[in-house]
Chain length 223, copies 2
Amino acid sequence: MTILVVDDEELIRNVIREYLENEKYEVLEAVDGEEALKMVSNHKIDLIILDIMMPKKDGYTTLKEIRKEKNIPIIMLSARSEEYDKLLGFDLGIDDYLTKPFSPRELLARVKAVLRRNREMEVYEVGDFVLDLQGHTLKIANEEVKLTPKEYELLVYFIQNEHIALSREQLLNKVWGYDFYGDDRTIDTHIKMLRNNLGKYRDWIVTVRGMGYKFESDEKISS
Amino acid sequence: MTILVVDDEELIRNVIREYLENEKYEVLEAVDGEEALKMVSNHKIDLIILDIMMPKKDGYTTLKEIRKEKNIPIIMLSARSEEYDKLLGFDLGIDDYLTKPFSPRELLARVKAVLRRNREMEVYEVGDFVLDLQGHTLKIANEEVKLTPKEYELLVYFIQNEHIALSREQLLNKVWGYDFYGDDRTIDTHIKMLRNNLGKYRDWIVTVRGMGYKFESDEKISS
DNA sequence: TCCTTTTTTCACGCGATATTCATAAAAATT
DNA sequence: AATTTTTATGAATATCGCGTGAAAAAAGGA
């Protein structure tokens, strides 16, 4: 398990590192958003602990950019608790957040909880849309939706990469396998069928023109 | 499956009860730690959902005392997430925890996960379908159903993994053993025979196309 | 041993699914 | 507005996966 700690203060990084390493986690560090982004694309990272207040590129922006590429769980650090509201409005699905100062134990607790939650990601649920990875079934409003194997695989891949635009090539490689050499329109057809099956949620599969598709459940937060 | 819900707020107890009963669990209630302890010694309880904040005797103390007597899996409820820190320090091996407010679905997911982890079943009974693990027998409508050894093993494995889609490979590995290298049709054939023996319940073995099979008693009726 | 029961293999057929392709629609560009 | 590029859709065709029955192989039981 590798954890990336992003904070401009060396003291904080060191404290966190110490506690995490004590629990046998691999720890990487980045001083700012720029560096963090580089780390993300060059290393296999399981969790990111990200400070909001940073020079150059702040936590929000960094978060956004990371999420464009990968769906790594993120715990945010903020100095003031009021920031929480702001974070919530963000809708980029942070996994947890902590206000400084925090106890090391609390940090560890969150880290463990987030990692476990993600390991056991067995149900994806938004509103009455419920995808059960264990049961291999999709239910909408308690009604089972019959999906063909490819449609199901496709949906799972989309959900595991929510918010991320996926090219047709990437979809072919990951869902169909690297040895598949087929027509691009094949994907379109499957997307069509999947959308039909998603019914009122058909728009969650967004067309990214000139690129591919992306999955985005618009979980509107009522204010 | 009997679940004990311990919370001083009636509203909470009722909500939880409703959702659990909807999933065919037996539900018992206790308003405080004292009562909970009595229930534990007088009933066969498979899981406890325990609120931390309670008058008389709080969740921590109750947890401690229950654990002195029996090793029943426990899910803790707390109002504030900061409590999690405290809980961890406790090291009394809680099985899971939830912060209020939580979605009923989330609760159900945890309940199922915990029960699955701690499953040790003696009798599986749904309607007039009775599988007796001790007696190694299956009865339907009080009529003993003769199963071959493989059919029986297969059925047990299915039931122990209810609602989970099992690939052919997984079935071969777990039921036949890792050293078995057989034809895929072998499973199909056994499924066929098992289904025949299940009679009116033949549909409880659901085909998951492109994947394998899963066991599911009585499709849930949508409310 | 022989006979019975159980397990495994396998080929066939059918229905479900995947893929291709032609055409329509939509969006971007000029 | 016209052209070009890209995506959506419907329908035709190819392929795949599952259920089945029958028969061979293996395991048990007298």
